[in-house]
């Protein structure tokens, strides 16, 4: 994790789904639990942009990012790491 990053509340499940829904102009209901590789790139890019930081995700963390629940937890962990530091 790099960059100063403002102290903002990490995104919750509904926010993560809302970010994913923007890709492909979907309604939140159309977002599936499984996250594909393009969606993952989109989600990480959006979170990095909003929180002005770089999420340094290792292979394990990236594997966690393949579901919405896993992504919410992983992003929380990553952003909390910054605040603690």
């Amino acid at each position: 994790m790099t960059g100063p990053g403002p102290r903002r509340r990490p995104p919750g499940r509904s926010e993560v789904i809302a970010i994913l829904a923007v890709m492909g102009d979907r309604v939140p209901d159309e977002v599936t639990e499984e996250i594909g590789s393009l969606e993952m790139a989109w989600l990480i890019s959006q979170v990095e942009e909003r929180y002005a930081t770089t999420l340094e995700l290792d292979d394990d963390a990236l594997r966690q990012m393949t579901t919405v629940s896993g992504a919410v937890a992983t992003i929380h962990q990553m952003l909390a790491g910054t605040e603690d530091g």
Binding site: R26, A41, W42, S45, E49, R63
Partner: protein, 464 residues
């Protein structure tokens, strides 16, 4: 005339100053270093029995190893089939049955970090005693999913590839010697292969593959060099980059192809970076056909030098003297010197500019990867648990299906995973009691009708 079949590789792709930068994958590689690697892979392939006029299939992820093995096989004078590294075992088996390569190259070990712009692979070459020598003079074979029957075998000669490189060299706004391309498009498919890899090698343009395919990672790859830089990708990548923005002094333009660009995207991209978002239109059969590299004609494109286009019955046809297909006598795809693109288009008679309007068949594009929905539907309907199914696409591939008695969605999902690559599989399986039909009794393919049937009160649907 060339003195030996693979001479074009040395002359057109590997010539130049050995000290010049050539590829960047986590670090720099010069043309001389690439040439040494190609020599080593040539020995590997020759040890596996590959000879001039022989055949090899390469199934490697985009990687330095892929580049070296491809160039080595071509320099030997072999015919090379490219198989997408994401194909599942059944798809690979089907392809090998049809292509019968004498040598199969796969990854002995591969480290692909998720989101990386390239993989680190080590190739293994395996001799296939039942393989057949090349029956045609083509050097490149690619398979395309077909809407009916087996996939098409698309073949190109070295002369055809060199002619396409000649077109790229004539595009004034395409990177010139000494410049850079940040390549986001897959090298295994025509855009990244010819517009990226081969053009870079041919024209002396450095090819940069980002460590990470996120907006930040791509911007970092652009910012890492001071020489004029173009980004080559699919529209998704441009959308990704418009999520933010940062001054990128070396960026000259981004060029995308592979699917239609959403109307708002070029202006938004230019607002973020102050440079144009250009587009290209092409096909696996021919490579680049028409371009709008400056973004001035959006959404129209101008035919590339030497390309002759016309519209018949709403379909775009491209002049092509010989059929690009092997083993296919299908007049609906190529006839009388014209390639039928299956794309709806209009041509402005005053300017000759072409506007692509969309597909006339069931082929869709997911992040630039072509998928025929008929292939997905057929795979689904062939499963023992599935009675009938309709596959649709809007933002993602979805399947509406009727299960046989006792059928379970989880069983359908796991069975489908053995049949189709992940990018072809429906993101959602929506179970219905019966597929809705039109007034004339045909199964409806209207997404609104299908969605309404799915959202009907549960009491009206059978619980799976």
């Amino acid at each position: 005339m060339t003195e030996y079949p693979g001479e074009w590789v040395s002359d057109a792709l590997l010539a130049g100053d050995p000290g010049d930068p050539c590829l960047w994958m986590g670090g720099p590689l010069t043309r001389g270093e690439l040439a040494s690697l190609v020599n080593a892979r040539q020995s590997l392939l020759e040890s596996a029995g590959l000879r001039p006029g022989g055949t090899a299939a390469i199934q490697l992820p985009p990687s330095l190893e892929f580049v070296a093995v491809l160039l080595a096989a071509w320099r030997i004078g072999a015919q090379v089939s490219l198989l997408d590294h994401r194909l599942v075992r059944r798809e690979v088996a089907g392809a090998l049955d049809r292509l019968a390569p004498q040598v199969l190259v796969t990854a002995e070990s591969v480290a692909t970090a998720a989101l990386a712009g390239y993989a680190k692979a080590v190739a293994r070459a395996e001799s296939r005693p039942d393989g057949r020598a090349a029956g045609t003079p083509h050097v490149l074979i690619q398979l395309s999913s077909g809407s009916t029957g087996p996939s098409k075998i698309i073949a190109r000669t070295a002369a055809d590839l060199l002619a396409e490189l000649g077109r790229y060299a004539q595009f004034e706004e395409y990177p010139r010697p000494g410049e850079r391309i940040v390549v986001l498009a897959s090298m295994v498919h025509v855009l990244g292969l010819v517009g990226g890899l081969l053009h870079g090698l041919h024209a002396g343009v450095e090819l940069v593959f980002p460590d990470r395919l996120t907006a930040d990672g791509i911007r970092g790859a652009v910012a890492a060099g001071r020489r004029p830089t173009m980004v080559l990708g699919v529209p998704f990548h441009a959308e990704l980059l418009t999520t933010g923005g940062a001054p990128l002094p070396s960026l000259r333009r981004m060029v995308v192809a592979g699917e239609l660009v959403r109307p708002w995207l070029p202006a938004r991209f230019t607002a973020a970076y102050g440079v144009p978002l250009g587009t290209m239109y092409g096909m696996t059969e021919l490579g680049v056909i028409a371009t709008d590299l400056s973004g001035r004609n959006a959404p129209a494109v101008a035919p590339a030098p030497g390309m002759s286009l016309r519209v018949a019955d709403g379909e775009l046809l491209v002049r092509m003297p010989a059929s690009p297909y092997i083993g296919l006598i299908d007049g609906t795809r190529w006839a009388d010197g014209w390639l039928h693109t299956r794309d709806a288009a209009s041509i402005d008679p005053a300017t000759g500019l072409v506007t692509i309007l969309g597909r006339l068949d069931s082929q869709i594009s997911v992040g630039g990867l072509k998928v025929d929905l008929t292939e997905v539907e057929q795979a689904l309907c062939a499963l023992p648990d599935v009675d009938s199914a309709v596959v649709t696409f809007d933002a993602a591939i979805e399947a509406y299906l009727v299960l046989r008695d006792g059928g379970q969605v989880s069983d359908v999902e796991s069975a489908l995973a053995e049949q189709l690559s992940a990018y072809k599989r429906p993101r959602r399986l929506l179970v219905l009691n019966a597929l809705p039909r039109t007034a004339t009794g045909k199964i409806s393919r209207d997404r609104a009708v299908l969605r309404a049937a799915f959202e009907a009160p549960r009491s009206e649907r059978r619980t799976p």
